[in-house]
Symmetry: C2
Subunit: 331 residues, 2 copies
Amino acid sequence: MNIYDIAKLAGVSIATVSRVVNDSPKVSEKAKAKVRKVMEENNYTPNVFARGLGLGSMKTLGIICPDVADTYMAKAVSYLEKNLQGYGYDCILYCSGYDAEDKQQAVERIMKKQIDALILVGSDYADDSPNYFHCIHTVSEQIPVFLVNGDVEDSNIYCVYADDFQAVYDVVDELLFAGSRRILFLTDSFSHSAKRKLEGYKVALRGRGFPIDDKLILYADKTIFATRDTLLRQRSLHFDSVVAANDSMAVGAVKYAYARGLKIPEEVNVIGYNNSELSISCEPELTSVDTRVEVLCKTAIDSVMALLSGNEIRQKQMVKCHLVKRGTTNF
Amino acid sequence: MNIYDIAKLAGVSIATVSRVVNDSPKVSEKAKAKVRKVMEENNYTPNVFARGLGLGSMKTLGIICPDVADTYMAKAVSYLEKNLQGYGYDCILYCSGYDAEDKQQAVERIMKKQIDALILVGSDYADDSPNYFHCIHTVSEQIPVFLVNGDVEDSNIYCVYADDFQAVYDVVDELLFAGSRRILFLTDSFSHSAKRKLEGYKVALRGRGFPIDDKLILYADKTIFATRDTLLRQRSLHFDSVVAANDSMAVGAVKYAYARGLKIPEEVNVIGYNNSELSISCEPELTSVDTRVEVLCKTAIDSVMALLSGNEIRQKQMVKCHLVKRGTTNF
DNA sequence: GTATAAAATGTAAGAGCTTACACAAAACAT
DNA sequence: ATGTTTTGTGTAAGCTCTTACATTTTATAC
C-alpha cells in the first residue's frame, strides 16, 4: 500500500495525497476528506524512508549517553524523550560508555542515521581526547549539537549545565558557618562538572579564610561500597563533613560512618548530589543537591528546537541548583 | 556526496560501489580497495533513507518502555541497546507511560518508523485494554514483537520473564521455615508479574498448611514514602515479615519499621525485589530477589535475532531468579 | 587456441516519497 | 461575457540507494 494506491482509490494524484499527508494548505477540503478517508480505511502509513529521502530529514534526534542505567542520565533521557514527542521528534538512543574513544565511535555511528540534531547527555569534555572533541566539532558544523549537563568552549556547540559551583559553594559556606572545619570533598571524576564543584568547595573555604587541605579532596569509584571502603582505608583522615559529587558516594560516606560508629549528623554531616531515590532510602535521609534535571532538559529541548528552526541561542546556559535538606546535616 | 560521486572518483559503476558498501563477495579485491579508499578520503556515508528504501529495512529496532527513569527498565534498556549494537541494530526508544492507551499510541507511532522488530520492556498485559492487545497483535503479524519481563497468551508474541512465582514461593517458604507466621505481601500493581509473585506467596503458605489472610496482601503506591505511610495507616495490622514486589516498597517497609521502632530483622524481616542499588543503600541492607535483568535481556536479544533470521523460538521463556541475602532477614 | 565456466562489472529499473512547474478550474472584477 | 487572479490539481523529475539481468573480463579445461 503506497501513495499510488491511495491516489488511485481516492481518485486524485499522488501529489494531492502527499499534500494531505503533509497537511499542505493548498488542498480543497473535499479532496482532503476523501484522501483521509481512504488512508484511514486502508491503514496507510507513508514510508519513512521515502519521506526521509524526499525531505532530507526524518524528524529524528540522536541521544547519546554514557549509560542509561545511571539514574541521573535515565531521568534525563526519560524527560527528553517524553517531551520531544510533543514536537514530533523521535529519539535514537546510543549508550556509549564513558570512554572517550567509545563516545567518539558512538557519535560517528549515530551520524550515519541522518539525525536532525545530536544531544549528548552527561558528556563532559574536560577529560576527553582532542580526537573526540574534533569529531563533535565536525558534527556541529552539520547539525545542532547540544550538551545536557556538559560544557565546552566551542561557539558551535551548545550546552546547559547546573550551577555546580554555586551549589557546592553555598553548601560548604553553610557548613563552615555551622561550625564545620574539616570538610571532605568526595568525587569520582575529573569532569567539568566535578571541577566546578571542586572550585565551589575551594572558593568557599578561601572565602572564609580557611586553608585547603589536599588530603580532604578524595577520589574514589562511584559505588556505595567502593566509596565506603576507600574512606575506611584512610586511617588517619579526620573530617566532620562530607560533600559528595553524587548520591552513591554520599551513601558510601554514610556507610562509612556506620562502620566507624560515627553519629550522623552529630559527628559527620553528609551532603549528596542529584537528589536521587538513594537520598531518601538511606538512614538518616540524605541532604542532597537537586540539579533539577527537568529544567536542564527543558532548556535543552527548547534550545534544540530553536536551533532547528534556525534561531540563535546562547552558547552556554546555566541552571541554578536547589539544596534539599534532610537528616544527614544539622544546619 | 553520493554514490555517483564515489563511483566517478573511483572509476567504477554505482553498482560496484553499492556492492562494496554492502560487502558483497562478488567484487574484486582491487576494486574493493579502490572504492574503500575513495570513500574514506571523501568521508562518504551512504544515505540511510535511500538504503532503507532499497532494502526495506534500516536495521532499527523499536523499544518501548513505560518509563526509563525507572531503575529496572533503565537497566534493561541499557543492556538491550549496548548489546544490540553488536548486531548492527540501532534502537528507537519511546517512553510510553503506564497507561494502556498511551502504550497503544506509542506502539502506533513507533510502527510508522519501519522498525524491524519491537521490544516491549516491562509491559505487562494483564491489566491492559483489549484495544491495546489487539494493536500489539496486529503489529506482531508484521514484525517480531518481544516482551521483556512481560507475558501474553498469543502464539505470535514472544516473551521472556522472571520466574517470580518460584522466587516468592522460595522466599516465603524459607520465611515460614524460619518461624515467620504473619508475612505481609506488598505490591503496587496487578501486572502479570505481580500476579505470579502473589501466586508464589499463596502456594507457599498453603504448602505449609497456613491460611491466607487477605489483610496481609497490601497494595500501595510504588514509592518509599507512600509505602511507609500506607503501612503506618494500617493501625491494627501485625506482621513479622514483608515480601515486597520491588525495592522501593521494601525500603518503604524498612522506613515503617524505623517509624514504629521495630528491629530489623529481629522483629520484622524485609525482602525486596530487583536487587537494585536501593537494596544496598538502606540500613540494614535489603535482602532482595535478583531477577537477572541481563539474562532476561540477553534472552530477548538472542530471540529477536533468531526471529529476524526467520528461525522459530519458544513463545515463552522463563529465567530463574536469585535471592541475595543481606541484613534485613535472619535466615 | 577455442570452448566453457566463473567472476567481475555495468546498465537500468525500481523503491515511495516531495515538490517545482505547468495547467485547469473556480472566483472575482469590470 | 471577458479578462485576471486565485486556488486546486497533476505531471514528472529528483532524492539516493539496491539489485536483477545483461555484458564483459578472466580463469580453466582440453
